[in-house]
């Protein structure tokens, strides 16, 4: 019975990826964020729960599980409830096309789709819908304003990300992520495409609403942006969505520019994880270093700097790829 085996494999794979993202990436990521910020500000950070505070996020999650289940009476119940599913799900769907490593029997990936990077762009664009629904469904002024700003920011930075994805696809001649990684066996694309890498990193920071692009959930003016009204476990699910999306974009950056699993001596999966956490560290470093920018600066930066630069970069890349081939 082939199809039963396939279904079982898919279900088990999904559960593994989801648990890995939830526990290793998100829970550990939140802890790391607090430790890194503490380190940058000469503090100690969480220290009491578990050895060196390792279990702090676990304790926080258990606490959030026991919180009262509050849906504001003025909120729109259906939209309010579906947003909390859509945002983390759309973020986690990205992981389908990310190759984590390679084994003797082939690359370690949930499914190597023909349209890999296009799939990635499509699923991450679904997050915007969830955010708009969260903002509108809460019927809270801060949430709605934050949701609209988030949506404007995310759609604006989707364009440079799309252009960078096309540039890398052009280098590799394929949309499949495994082919892209295989194309970097000898030389990582970051060497040939430093500009594209920089654009991707900046746009990814904006895409996950992190400082310096965190004006959409600026605590001092908008409380928590689009998820102001979400408390308890719902809040945790939005955190899952946000950190899940950050790790997905970092993993995509590793896949596109840093050679994915390629590296000497160490096993491939370990290389992937090392590169992933190095990029995550860069995200955190940036977050705790730079001040927040204004919304007009944020939009101007994408439309008047990133997009022209990435279009130009694409044209130059196309010129070299096509001419070098002759």
């Amino acid at each position: 019975m082939d199809w039963i085996r396939d279904i079982l494999r898919a279900v088990v794979g999904t559960i593994i990826i989801f648990s890995a993202v939830a526990f290793i990436a998100v829970m550990f990521g939140v802890l790391l964020e607090r430790k890194v910020s503490a380190w940058m500000q000469s503090r100690l950070g969480p220290k009491h729960v578990g050895p060196q505070g390792l279990l702090q996020t676990v304790a926080d999650t258990i606490k959030l599980l026991q919180k009262e289940n509050i849906v504001p009476t003025r909120a729109d119940p259906i939209i309010f409830a579906s947003a909390v599913i859509i945002v983390p799900l759309a973020a986690l769907l990205d992981y389908v096309v990310i190759p984590f490593g390679t084994t003797r029997s082939g690359p370690l990936i949930f499914r190597d789709l023909n349209i890999g990077v296009l799939y990635f762009a499509a699923t991450s664009s679904l997050v915007v819908i969830g955010i708009l629904m969260a903002g509108w469904g809460s019927n809270n002024k801060y949430a709605l304003l934050g949701g609209l700003r988030s949506a404007a920011q995310m759609v604006t930075y989707e364009i440079p990300i799309g252009l960078v994805l096309v540039t890398v696809a052009l280098m590799a001649g394929s949309l499949s992520t495994v082919t892209i990684v295989n194309g970097q066996a000898r030389l990582w694309y970051i060497v040939a495409q430093p500009v594209a890498f920089l654009v991707f990193l900046i746009a990814a920071t904006a895409e996950v609403n992190r400082a310096p692009f965190d004006l959409v959930e600026a605590e001092s003016e908008l409380v928590a942006g689009y998820f102001s009204e979400y408390s308890g476990m719902r809040f945790a699910l939005f955190q899952l969505g946000e950190y899940g999306e950050m790790f997905a974009l970092a993993a995509m950056a590793v896949t596109l520019f840093l050679g994915g699993w390629h590296g000497p001596v160490l096993p491939p999966v370990l290389w992937f994880v090392i590169k992933l956490y190095a990029l995550i560290f860069v995200f955190m470093w940036v977050r705790w270093t730079y001040p927040r920018i204004r919304i007009d600066q944020m939009l101007n930066f994408s439309w008047k700097v990133l997009i022209p630069v990435s279009v130009l970069n694409l044209i130059v890349t196309a010129f070299f790829v096509v001419m070098a081939h002759r």
Partner: protein, 118 residues
Amino acid sequence: MLLDWGYVAIFALVGAAMVALPLLIIWLISPRSDYPQKFETYESGVPTIGEAWSQFHVRYYLFSLVFVVFDVEIIYLYPWAVVARSLGAIAFWEMLVFLTILVLGLAYAWRRGALEWT
């Protein structure tokens, strides 16, 4: 190919179930309160005034408008990127024409001030 997408469909379904699981758990175990103020909309601690569902400024629309057009532009670049190498120089020139026309669009939007947050 259908098998690939079957996997993706199962990923989405199982994933939705796993995301919904914590919501089921809190529905079962979380304490309830019938304290009406807790269900008020948050507005910095003062009583909520009016609905949040009001009208917003048109500038949000202008940005999403330019976004949609560029997003559509990029979908044509994906298939081009895959075959550009094998088609050679002609692919480059065709794409240059395509991109130039769209850069004109960006320039127009810039010039008309659609990219200004006024």
